[in-house]
């Protein structure tokens, strides 16, 4: 049974809230049947839905290259990767369903523009090197963001993240391996890799969200242990991880301010153009319209198929019912 806010009268509600707070304080998991504050539930729905939508929209920029992949091995790897993203979307929509909201409703909200997906997927993929750089940067940033979520306070979300993170790390390695191979290839290939690095670096840093002092939802999410590290901490982590990998690859990260800071034990780096992030989030990125158009088309073109499947299932239930 689902227990909602206010169940059991004011005293009961107070006791439930105290239990919830104690569960969070002890780093234990909240499960779907447990009482939770409405705000906690709404925050989780927003975050998990955004994550699920990102997986699904995120199939598009790379999916465009499955049909053009330049070797059959690369084709198989990319095909499997994009398929994994569909699978991740499925896990995450299922996690959201444990909070009482189904996939079709979340899809409607996405298509109506009421829910977002990661702004990174509103940038175009211009060459096959982009496939490698997305694996390296975008999946790398996703790992930085998501590994701490494996300890998120909400059980179903945390468990789906464990599985997703394992696969993301495989995606990151294949992206980096593609780039290593390309850097050993022709001059044109090396130029393509550097060009893709130049285009994806800053948008990747923006994946961690606005700076901490300008991130309205972060404090509450951290108090609830939905989120475990601040945007800026995670961004620093990503930069520190990526710099030595860039050196090994032989590419230049497009930031003149990037340098090791002995005192801090971290790299210093320039500030991303967060006004660009805000523009892209609001819908003015290079590919926002294209991404939503394709998702909408798939949803609308598939409506008759979903209706037919539902009608067929209903007929079968009817036949079984009359036979019984």
């Amino acid at each position: 049974m689902t227990v909602t806010d206010g169940a059991g009268g004011p005293d009961g509600a107070t006791a439930l809230a105290a239990h919830f707070d104690a569960t969070i304080a002890h780093d234990q998991r909240i499960e779907p049947r447990d009482w939770m504050p409405d705000g906690y539930r709404a925050t989780l729905v927003r975050q998990i839905a955004q994550h699920a939508h990102s997986e699904i929209i995120g199939m598009q920029p790379e999916g465009e290259w499955i049909t053009k992949a330049p070797s059959l091995r690369r084709k198989a790897i990319l095909f499997a990767k994009v398929q994994d993203e569909a699978g991740h979307g499925l896990y995450l929509y299922s996690a959201a369903e444990t909070l009482g909201i189904d996939r079709s409703e979340l899809t409607e909200r996405l298509l109506a523009g009421r829910q977002k997906y990661s702004s990174i997927f509103n940038y175009p993929t211009l060459s096959f090197a982009d496939v490698g750089v997305i694996g390296w940067f975008v999946d790398g940033a996703a790992i930085c963001n998501q590994v701490p979520l494996c300890r998120s306070s909400y059980g179903p979300y945390a468990r789906s993240m464990v599985r997703i993170c394992k696969e993301e790390s495989f995606h990151q390695r294949q992206g980096y391996e593609l780039l290593l191979t390309m850097m050993r290839g022709t001059e044109q290939q090396r130029a393509q890799v550097q060009d893709a690095v130049d285009r994806w670096w800053w948008p990747s840093l923006m994946m961690f969200g606005p700076p901490d002092d300008d991130s309205p939802n972060s404090a509450q999410s951290m108090a609830w242990k939905i989120k475990r590290h601040s945007n800026d901490e995670l961004r620093q982590r990503f930069v520190d991880m990526t710099v030595p990998q860039a050196e090994r690859l032989g590419v230049t990260l497009p930031d003149p301010e990037l340098r090791w800071n002995e005192e801090r034990g971290h790299h210093d780096f320039g500030t991303p153009d967060f006004s660009e992030l805000m523009r892209v989030i609001k819908g003015d990125g290079p590919c926002n319209a294209q991404r939503m158009e394709r998702r909408t088309k798939a949803h609308q073109d598939g409506a008759w198929v979903r209706e037919a499947a539902a009608a067929h299932a209903a007929k079968n239930r009817g036949e079984e019912g009359s036979a019984a």
Binding site: A80, A86, T186
Partner: protein
């Protein structure tokens, strides 16, 4: 950052164990592990080359069409399923190209055969190259192609070439799933709504005649495939179209529709733009 996260993170991001697996898809195990790849006596190299090439071209072209569905499927589950089928076929194509290249003995590998032949050199059947159309078209096409390919691979599992036989044995279990998937959709759509039945009728009317090319290429499969199709259509409450032209296509002889040139132009575009590149 806590040491807790460091531990998890390092094991994920910097681990180099090769035991990682895709969530779905085919895996990348070697189905030829332990199989002797020397050409056995009594197997005609030219015949084996032609047979492997034809089967590989069917699979590659069909996989490319399935890849075109990605991000456009009617449901997320179907994105996963179509990718699964596409990956299976792509895996079969790779093994068959490799074998064709070995049997041919001209030093061509899978990528030379997939990326550097022109449309007239491809030997796939016409049905495989036709554009996707709507979901009904794609499911009818999948039903026809997978029923036919399953019947072929079942027989080829006994082929005297051990490599082709091993590829066929692996393919049989894959194709059994493909055919089942297509059959289930045929039943759902045939016996779903008025609109879905109408779309299935239209797809059958257009694609049914292409069976003649399938049976011309592998006559021994005809009875089995026809029986399967009849059973599926009956369950789906669909009628097979009456009149069938005798011959629609000659893909096995390299005579294709314009759709293949278009499909290959896309498939080969990046590889041909920089032929010296390594991928």
């Amino acid at each position: 950052m806590s040491s807790d996260d460091d531990h998890v993170y390092l094991s994920l991001a910097e681990g180099h164990a090769d035991d990682a697996r895709w969530a779905f898809g085919t895996g990348f195990e070697d189905p030829l592990h332990g199989v002797d790849t020397t050409l056995p006596e009594g197997v005609d190299a030219a015949e084996l080359t032609a047979l492997c090439l034809a089967l590989a071209d069917d699979a590659l072209v069909a996989a490319q069409r399935l890849a075109q569905w990605i991000t456009l499927a009617p449901e997320l589950e179907e994105e996963v399923a179509l990718a699964n089928i596409g990956l299976d076929l792509l895996g079969q194509a790779r093994l068959l190209y490799a074998r064709a290249g070995q049997a041919e003995g001209a030093g061509r590998d899978e990528d030379a055969l997939a990326y550097f032949r022109d449309p007239a050199e491809f030997r796939n059947v016409i049905l495989a190259e036709l554009p996707n159309g709507d979901f009904a078209h794609s499911m009818v096409k999948l039903l026809l192609l997978s029923s036919w390919r399953l019947a072929q691979l079942t027989r080829l599992a006994e082929h005297p070439d051990p490599v082709l036989a091993a590829v066929a044995r692996k393919g049989v279990s894959e194709l059994t799933y493909h055919r089942d998937h297509a059959a289930q959709w045929t039943v759902r759509l045939g016996d779903g709504t008025e609109e879905s039945a109408r779309r299935m009728d239209a797809a059958l009317a257009e694609l049914w005649p292409y069976r003649s090319e399938l049976y011309a290429a592998a006559a021994e499969t005809q009875d089995e495939v026809e029986a399967v199709l009849a059973q599926v259509l009956d369950t789906a409450r669909l009628a097979a179209p009456a009149a069938t032209p005798v011959s629609m296509g000659r893909g096995r002889e390299g005579q294709h529709t314009e759709h293949l040139a278009e499909l290959l132009a896309e498939l080969q575009s990046v590889a041909r733009a920089d032929p010296e590149a390594t991928w």
